[in-house]
Symmetry: C2
Subunit: 405 residues, 2 copies
């Protein structure tokens, strides 16, 4: 009898959790598991803001997939997914094709620029190791060039962050710690450096506790960040951005570096493959399968799940993606064996902590509000927990964060 | 009686040697000594190719001037010299004026582009800490961007070095050691990287022993450098360079980085101040004074001294600049005291070693030819000797090179 073939697309939090749980749940004779990923490494998406700011080396935020998968049970292919042909049950790669019986689409999200002109061309996004590393180098190059050039362009030392959501704020937390180091490294006067956070919404970190948000804003302002809240970005240009000022007026902000951190959408492969989706996100069934497909699970950034309590979608977090991976692996095992019970996915939000740099954070965990060192400690515990859940203690030991203050 | 005032412009090899020798030779009551320099640090010009390639941090190639001058005897002003008014015995700074009784012009050289179009705008030069650091960051940024961009521009990984003289070859030696590191750091395929050396002259390292040159070329070629000898650069463009190919044909070479290392000239302040000069270099008298000026010494890159044996100027090296500094300090002491004998300057070339990277070199020292590890060792001894001559054993201990293989 032919073994069923499970193909998992993406080795992010969701995909890798599915693979590592499934390899434990099933025997080598029961199923063929194939993991497909663009790179031969997994990266901690939630740590990318650190690599982007240059406060943590990019090699610290990634590890080889081979370190956590059981090669006896899981095959790995490095490849880029172009499209899924659900009728023929095939995955089209940039250089090949794969057949599947069961498919897990755990392809990560993409930056969402909401059609704002020029952002794709001129702004950076914190989306993967390549882009994080490029942001780090870009900022360093701006500092080095400013110091070396005869006619100084002050705007080289202006860094605009578009978006005061989680990514924007966490990046600013790291960046404001990094700037004094950059000034020393490149002999630049710290007073010349500007950090701006431009956010269209009327508040920083929408959805977060107001008291904690106030703390975060004050801390970042103390470290040199200027907030422009309720300010919509209208355009990205080679020189910076154009924002709305009042009703009809526009204002140009010159900036050597613009990081767009205001939106994330699902993967564009979702739409290309004909799934019904909103901004690349499919409203999945309770068992995480795509509506109308018995053989396709969608998890992570491309899955949309409504939080019934507030009637809004859950944000696509690492925590939820990993929990989805666990449910997905369970449900796959049930389908493969034809016995057991299909589970419905229910997120179990243990807490949310937003870092404000290595030594500071705000958060809610186990129903308690926290700021400063305590919250920062909790953030590192959470970061280490991601490693533990996928790779066990060995991975925590190799890649964990132990610089507790 | 008013103490005579000696003003020393520039804290490079020549200026700093003059200051440190003079402070030992004269008493605090005999003379007022003022050292003027653009930065508050001295840098080892002959190590800048390492900082540019990124094989040695730029902080390793510089030290604070205050570490080597005796503040009881020498005053230091950080300032940029605009012009010298020899009639009024004044130095015009960007933000002030200084009077002198005796002047030592030890302002360093500048990159010479021989009027080739576009080079000043589009090529980098290894001239100071700022430019070295910018080259390092530029190359890193090219690698990071290549890896991150969707449509790859292969030319980002092409580095053109204009000039196969000392600086060009030493830079290529470091760069070819650095490229494998860069490829690892930025996940770039080493086969995509190109290093080109374009030289108009018919040979690499003109004036060097032919056998040693052959060794150098072979070693650099082994590390991936391609030589285009007898090839004149006609233009620098935003995309790279245009070279002469045969008699009338031109060829475009696309390159993300162009480093122009083909020429050095004296300081432009020399011409602005009315000294008779060729490319910013003044043919000084045997005692190192400018012809027609009893109170102005010119040493280092802006001084021209003919090697009578071959009837060609000595190249402006650190070795010669430091020896000039010694003679200059002696002659100043004689003038100040009105006794003793003015010395004529005679270079004492102890040897010349051209580095091919951390672990390799070619050279002639004490009349003997050397290659490989032995020559590389000698290079480090020479580097440490510069430190020793200006700052004694303390400075060697702090800044010296001890990574002998």
């Amino acid at each position: 009898m032919r073994k069923p073939k499970v193909v998992i697309l993406g080795a992010g939090y969701g995909g890798l959790m599915t693979a590592t749980k499934l390899q434990k749940a099933v025997g080598v004779n029961e199923v063929e598991i194939l993991l497909v990923n663009k790179n031969d490494y997994h990266y901690e998406t939630t740590w990318l803001h650190e690599a982007s700011a240059g406060t943590l080396h990019h090699d610290r935020v990634r590890y080889n997939i081979s370190e956590v998968i059981d090669r006896n049970k899981v095959d790995f292919i490095q490849g880029t997914v172009s499209e899924i042909n659900t009728k023929e049950k095939k995955v089209i790669l940039e250089d090949g094709e794969l057949e599947y019986d069961y498919l897990v689409v755990a392809l990560g999200g993409e930056s969402e620029t909401f059609g704002i002109k020029g952002l794709k061309e001129h702004a950076f996004s914190i989306v993967n190791v390549d882009s994080a590393r490029q942001i780090r180098e870009h900022i360093e190059y701006q500092f080095a060039t400013y110091k070396a050039e005869e006619e100084k362009k002050e705007e080289r030392l202006t860094i605009v962050v578009g978006g005061a959501g989680f990514t924007g704020i966490e990046f600013l937390g790291e960046l404001s710690n990094r700037v004094p180091e950059l000034c020393r490294e490149y002999d630049v006067d710290p007073n010349k450096v500007k950090m701006l956070c431009v956010e269209a919404a009327p508040t920083v970190l929408p959805g977060f506790d107001a008291e904690l948000v106030k703390y975060a804003v004050a801390q970042l302002e103390k470290k040199g960040v200027t907030f422009m809240i309720g300010t919509a970005v209208k355009e990205g240009t080679p020189e910076g951005i154009i924002v709305a000022k009042g009703e009809d007026e526009l204002e140009e902000i010159k900036a050597g570096t613009v990081v767009w951190a205001a939106g994330i959408r699902g993967n564009s492969v979702i739409e290309k493959s004909g799934f019904e989706a909103m901004r690349g996100r499919v409203k999945v069934q309770p068992d995480l399968r795509a509506p109308g497909y018995d053989d396709v699970f969608i998890i992570g950034d491309s899955a949309l799940i409504i939080n019934e309590e507030i009637n809004r979608p859950y944000p696509p977090t690492a925590q939820i993606a990993m929990q989805q991976g666990e449910t997905c692996a369970h449900n796959l095992a049930v389908l493969i064996r034809g016995k057991g019970e299909i589970q419905s996915f229910t997120p179990d939000i243990k807490g949310t902590v937003c870092s404000l740099g290595e030594d500071d954070a705000i958060g809610v965990a186990f129903g308690k509000k926290m700021v400063g060192g305590k919250a920062s400690f909790m953030k590192k515990v959470i970061d280490n927990r991601s490693l533990y859940m996928i790779g066990g203690p060995t991975l925590v030991f190799k890649k964990g964060k132990f610089n507790f203050l």
